[in-house]
């Protein structure tokens, strides 16, 4: 990519500078902690030091006596008001402030409202909580043991730590294929608990007006409309009296999809104090209490013929959901979209079973750019394919080429029922191999191995299913996953677009203006994009799961086409010809066969607002809206090749090169697409090599700060080498597929496959992420570590 000059602003798709950058590079963004209202107070949360303990007493008298404290809220106070529990996105409930027990370290116990942030923190120290520590469940593998402590004794009829069992595919047919297969391989793979860790933590400013009964809620929300409903459900304030405002969001990655207890405490604090209350969590609070991701213990199996035809994949998953089932995903999919673990291959059969359990860890379960657990699915299948290549003595890229779906097979219904829309997988992988110089890399590797050097080449191929989703079978809390867009063209020909989705850095103010520009032939600079305000935007479920372009982008394009159609009628009145006699060239309707006779969008817009007589039944003005219900998900894909060098003395992994070829269909703004891929690749390197929320046997979180929870910096990341193929989605109005999470999904197996490839001389087949120097060194010694728990 070269730098984008100002002069290159396209009248539609193409790389152009982002509209939002002007404020950010001046330090003039408005993030949650920049919101400052008159009379605003500050809140702080007291959290549990124990992972599991009974609360015997909470004494807040000393805190209340602090001269700068305006209110102290406890679980008992909330319980009396019916506010002690809030709904989760998975239909479970979560304690706002603990009443009976604490169930994970860092759980919310009390909330202080004070004049400033320092006083609020001081007052936390004055609260005296008496706990009776209880035995903990930290190891998901023992959560269902007969003698396991019961975590959710608050739920009637809950006799164990079991949450759900879910299965997909055909168990009997899969067993048949496995029984007949020449080669079968089984392996246990852990996808460790990781955290999205957006650089801006979560926070809110709640402003309740007791006269109007209206709540204005500024919050770090990826889904403002869904949050409004959840606040209504949890607080009892009618939905029409709640206005949710998402200001600039400093990264989300799924972390800002759920609502958190602190938000509700800020609301109650504002009700009690009669003043606006700001609450912004610190980094430890963010890492220890808000939505984690993954924590999937997978037993994977793959079956193939001796010549390398992959026949079946089977997987059993133990899913650790923490103390409350707070996973954010469509309700009918308790394991998210893990069902696409069939990957990019033509399988005869597939089956998976997922069992969800409670543990004494923080709640959550779906976050961190995972496309509803496709991250886990792709990791599983791509590791299994590599193990198969190792077993068969075949090259992992060639094995994939042999088994990838062919273009003529699309639309393709996979063994678990997902209908892949389009792709040219082999072309995508071959391009990656060409760009990487794959054959040359293998030769170099052989030469280095002769010298005892550990060089690894890792390949992964992923297919995602994004853009949830068809509302007849995808909903969250009963809300179908359709999103609205409203487009209004002003008399002067400039326009305003109102959308339900919420940028957290994706650049919606630019790309959504480009969609309108492409459809109407006006400049993106003339389209203002309004978002992040539930009073001003149409309903929709927000931004996560790479759904903004597939769903809201489609709504925008359809709304713009409706405007264009209406403009045609207005133009026909202006030109005194029948609408059918007009033809569209970008930005202008003109008389067929007489192109000089035409009117521009600006002229049409003015006429639409004027006294021009319009045909019977045609209203004035120039606007349209659309609620887009996707007919199917979109299926972006990609081929990634990672080259690593491993220091045999220390086990340190260096990522030397990373080639990524993505196919996300039509690209609206290639510069932004590439930027999103870069970010996801760094995420993948981080998860593969550095990141894990680990716990000790007593339930202490060992990843509660950036000193312990390691994220990749510029020196751990290589210079990414990107390329693309373009296979438009056949069912999407503009052929786009969504890309925000592709690289996060596809890159971890490429990195791990590369490291395992480097360790091949030691006979290492698998070691779990993160592949820290210690883990790699132990793997070389033949005894890789367990990375989720530090046991005594």
């Amino acid at each position: 990519m070269t730098a984008v000059g100002e002069e290159t602003t396209p009248m539609g798709y193409g790389s152009m500078r982002r509209k939002e950058d002007a404020r950010f590079i001046r330090g003039r963004g408005t993030y949650i902690d920049d919101v400052r209202l008159p009379g605003m107070l500050y809140g702080a949360v007291l959290r549990s030091p124990y992972a599991h303990a009974r609360i015997l007493s909470v004494d807040v008298s000393a805190a209340e006596a602090h001269p700068k404290v305006r209110a102290v809220i406890t679980g008992e106070m909330l319980r009396r008001r019916g506010l002690a529990w809030m709904p989760t996105l998975s239909g479970d409930r979560q304690a706002v402030l603990a009443t009976d027990k604490v169930r994970f370290q860092g759980q919310e116990v009390a909330f202080v409202v004070a004049d400033d942030r320092y006083a609020a923190r001081d007052a936390l120290e004055l609260i005296d909580v008496e706990y009776e520590p209880l035995p903990v469940v930290m190891d998901a593998r023992h959560a269902l043991d007969d003698d396991a402590p019961l975590i959710r004794d608050d739920v009637d009829g809950q006799a164990s730590n079991h949450i759900f069992d879910w299965e997909t595919g055909d168990a009997a047919r899969t067993e048949e294929v496995f029984a007949r297969a020449d080669v079968t391989i089984a392996e246990d793979l852990l996808y460790p608990r990781v955290h999205p860790a957006p650089l801006e933590t979560c926070g809110a400013v709640a402003d309740f007006d007791e006269i109007s009964g209206k709540l204005t809620m500024w919050s770090t929300s990826q889904a403002p409309h869904a949050h409004r409903l959840m606040y209504a459900m949890a607080s009892g304030i009618p939905e029409n009296k709640i206005r949710v405002l998402s200001p600039d969001i400093g990264g989300g990655f799924g972390n800002k999809v759920p609502i958190y207890p602190g938000y509700l405490c800020a609301i109650v604090g504002s009700m009690l104090s009669g003043r606006p209350v700001k609450w912004v969590e610190d980094r430890s609070e963010n890492l220890m209490s808000t939505s984690f991701a993954r924590d999937y213990h997978m037993h994977g199996e793959i079956a193939a013929s001796r010549d390398g035809t992959i026949q079946a994949v089977r997987v059993h998953v133990l899913a650790d959901h923490g103390a409350f089932n707070g996973a954010a995903q469509p309700s009918k999919f308790p394991a998210g979209f893990f069902g696409v673990f069939t990957g990019s291959y033509d399988l005869a059969a597939a089956y998976c079973h997922v069992r969800g359990v409670y543990t004494n860890k923080a709640p959550g379960g779906v976050a961190y750019s995972c496309s509803f657990r496709i991250t886990e699915a792709v990791y599983l299948v791509e590791r299994m394919v590599d193990m198969l290549a190792l077993e068969l003595g075949q090259d992992p890229a060639e094995l994939r080429l042999k088994n990838l779906l062919r273009p003529d097979q699309f639309p393709y219904t996979c063994a678990t029922g997902w209908v892949y829309d389009s792709g040219d997988y082999a072309r995508t992988l071959r391009l990656a191999m060409d760009q990487a110089g794959y054959a040359g890399l293998r030769r170099e590797q052989a030469a280095r191995r002769e010298r005892g050097e550990l060089m690894g080449i890792g390949v992964s191929f992923f297919t995602e299913a994004v853009g949830a989703g068809p509302r007849n079978h995808m909903d969250i809390l009963g809300l179908g996953m359709a999103d609205g867009a409203e487009l209004r063209v002003h008399p002067s020909g400039t326009a305003v677009l109102r959308i339900s989705v919420q940028t957290q850095g994706q650049g919606h103010e630019t790309t959504f203006a480009q969609i309108v520009a492409e459809e109407l032939g006006i400049s993106p600079d003339d389209v203002e994009v309004v978002h992040g305000d539930t009073d001003q935007t149409p309903f929709g479920l927000g931004t996560y799961g790479s759904r903004s372009t597939p769903v809201s982008g489609a709504a925008t394009a359809v709304a713009a086409r409706r405007v264009r159609d209406k403009a045609r009628i207005v133009a026909s009145a202006m030109l005194e010809v029948a609408p059918d006699d007009l033809e569209w060239e970008k930005g202008r309707w003109s008389v067929r066969g007489d192109p000089d006779q035409g009117v521009t969008m600006a002229e049409i817009a003015l006429a639409a607002h004027s006294s021009l007589e319009l045909p019977q039944g045609v209203e004035g003005h120039l606007d349209a809206s659309c609620v887009y219900n996707p007919p199917n998900l979109t299926y972006p894909c990609g081929a990634y090749i990672c080259v690593v060098d491993v220091d045999p003395g220390t086990g340190k992994v260096s990522v030397r090169r990373f080639v990524a070829v993505d196919d996300c269909g039509v690209r609206i703004n290639p510069m932004i697409v590439e930027g999103q891929i870069h970010g996801g690749l760094a995420d993948g390197v981080g998860m593969a090599l550095m990141e894990a929320l680990t716990f000790d046997a007593e339930g202490n979180c060992l990843g509660g700060s950036f000193m312990d929870y390691l994220l990749p910096t510029a020196v751990e990341c290589p210079s990414w080498e990107l390329s693309e193929t373009v296979t438009p989605s056949p069912h999407h109005p503009i052929g786009a597929k969504g890309v925000g999470e592709s690289a996060t999904v596809g890159s971890p197996p490429a990195v791990v496959n590369a490291v395992m490839d480097a360790l091949k001389p030691f006979g290492v087949r698998h070691a779990d992420m993160p592949l820290t120097p210690a883990q790699v060194w132990c793997a070389i010694q033949g005894r890789p570590l367990r990375t989720d728990l530090v046991l005594p």
Partner: protein, 164 residues
């Protein structure tokens, strides 16, 4: 306690608690909210500002430590209505997405270019290695800084001598 410091060329005096962090002084007392707080432990660098011409992490410096000294923040990058080449580079090369790390990254980049006008990519990466970006994978930040290096000096007022 009463603290006086010069921020972006303007002298400010405020009566604050001795324990107040520099980042809170800048953000809450002076309402210069371009510098961000991200981690508390000096790991993320969202809070980087210059203290007497050197980048520091203002989440782990006390406001009192800046008493009598000169602070430069992102709000002081722009000169005479003209964006610094670093700011222009971040726009031209898509060096930011959510924008939260951007102020700190740009402050470090400006310092780097003032001392190493033609840095290699490795030097740029090393310079920002104490800072975290969760969006860009760093690629376009490196390109942005290089863009700025190539365009530095083509306009007045970007060097350290121009510091207010």
């Amino acid at each position: 306690m009463e603290i006086t410091m010069t921020v972006n060329g303007t002298q400010y005096t405020r009566d604050v608690e001795p324990r107040m962090l520099l980042i809170h002084f800048i953000r809450d007392e002076l309402e210069l909210t371009g510098s961000h707080w991200g981690c508390d432990t000096s790991n993320c660098g969202a809070c980087v500002v210059w203290l007497d011409g050197t980048p520091v992490k203002s989440c782990t410096a006390l406001a009192a430590m800046a008493g009598g000294r000169e602070v430069r923040t992102v709000e002081g990058l722009q000169r005479g209505g003209e964006l610094d080449p670093v700011q222009q580079g971040f726009i031209a090369c898509h060096g930011l997405q959510c924008g939260f790390c951007t102020s700190g990254m740009m402050m470090t980049a400006r310092w780097l270019l003032d001392h190493t006008p033609d840095p290699s990519d490795a030097e740029i990466r090393e310079a920002i290695s104490g800072q975290i970006c969760r969006c860009t994978g760093y690629e376009n930040i490196v390109r942005s800084v290089r863009w700025a290096a190539e365009h530095d000096g083509r306009q007045a007022g970007s060097g350290p001598e121009a510091a207010a």
